[in-house]
Symmetry: C2
Subunit: 197 residues, 2 copies
DNA sequence: CGCGTGATTGAAACCCTTCAAGTTTAGTGG
DNA sequence: CCACTAAACTTGAAGGGTTTCAATCACGCG
């Protein structure tokens, strides 16, 4: 339930010890309480966030004030509005903390600097991007091809931990259905003897 | 209506002349006729394809044999199943030619080799990935928040050229609606005096 | 010309939403 | 620790957007 950025560099990205220290010099960290915000629509996203502990959520409001969840980010995940970050535009998204959360802040020049320090970091960073694309494509496939129930079942299988940590109405907004819709989907599944987790 | 990989390297990626020549040595090209296939589900995606001329389409079949279009790739676009390509797994996708198409083939080690040859290429390649993520996120936002009509209007605005080059049923499968559904959306828009293009 | 594919249209069915109410849960202050 | 309140979840009924099924029309191509 906790995964430090240092661990990430060592274990996942395979950065050697000296370089880990060097890269750690580039970053800062921040704590946010549950319900607090790391990014608000209209502002520029100055950082990509790495979640060491806690849970974040990227979402937007439509013109009617309805929220749509684009991404959840539990421990060891990156989150941020790349659109705003990369092009210095004001963001259309919000990032909120669903739990008390500790994040590492990665500024604009971080990826380049860290990539120069460690080739392994560079490779792993690119791998993460590739992986992100995979995940987004899969989600699109589901959204254009699967029913609400199928999408929920996939969510349960893919993110079983989030099921317990995120309120149901947020999960509904991630799946592209209403909270009532999700409630009904769950009732139907319960009838069919489906047990989550 | 044509954009060579060489132009891409020179004009977009800003690779200097000598290095362009070096990078061009790494690639091969292929022609596919309309209706022919560059990737079939079950096989491994050995290349990322750059479209010099023509139009490709990445799609999959569900268990009922219905097609779902994940991506179109006209001139100067990259297309491929990164999932299969990167992890050497058999692909769930197909890639077909909607028009007679000439593509550049980029093999597994291409990105690394080209990145070593040219730092500008490396940067631009990463930029493309970032951009791809942006585009996918926007599509997800639309799929979970917008009606069929809104999604179609966005498609018209974003890809006006594809409207004329891809058959309507493919566009429908990209938007996550049925061909009949799209036909009705267009009729309603026509009533409201909407003119595409 | 005739065949096949794509586009359109109508009617019925269905999935999911919306609106409105009720129930449960979680958080807060006394 | 209980009482109170707000938020989250559930449920029912009605409605809307889209699909499904089936038939028809339009068109390009052998």
């Amino acid at each position: 339930m906790e995964y430090t950025f240092r661990q990430f560099l060592e274990e996942k990205a395979n950065v050697v010890s000296d370089q880990v220290a060097e890269i750690m010099e580039l970053v800062s960290f921040q704590e946010v309480k549950k319900g607090e915000s790391l990014l608000e629509a209209g502002k520029v996203c100055d950082y990509i966030f790495f979640v060491e502990k806690g849970l974040l959520r990227l979402f937007l409001f439509n013109e009617d004030g309805v929220e749509y969840t684009i991404q959840f980010a539990p421990e060891s995940w990156f989150i941020g509005d790349r659109d705003s970050f990369y092009f210095n535009q004001s963001s259309i998204y919000n990032i909120d903390a669903i739990e008390d959360t500790r994040v590492i802040l990665l500024a604009k020049d971080f990826a380049n600097k860290a990539s120069e320090i460690s080739a392994n970091f560079r490779n792993y960073n690119e791998f993460i991007l590739q992986n992100h694309v995979r995940q987004l494509q899969k989600r699109i496939s589901l959204l254009i091809s699967a029913s609400a129930e199928e999408r929920y079942l996939d969510f349960v299988k893919t993110y079983p931990d989030l099921l317990l940590r995120a309120p149901q109405w947020m999960i509904a907004s991630y799946l592209g259905i209403t909270p009532q819709g999700l409630s009904r989907v769950r009732r139907e599944l319960a009838k069919k003897n489906f047990k989550p987790g």
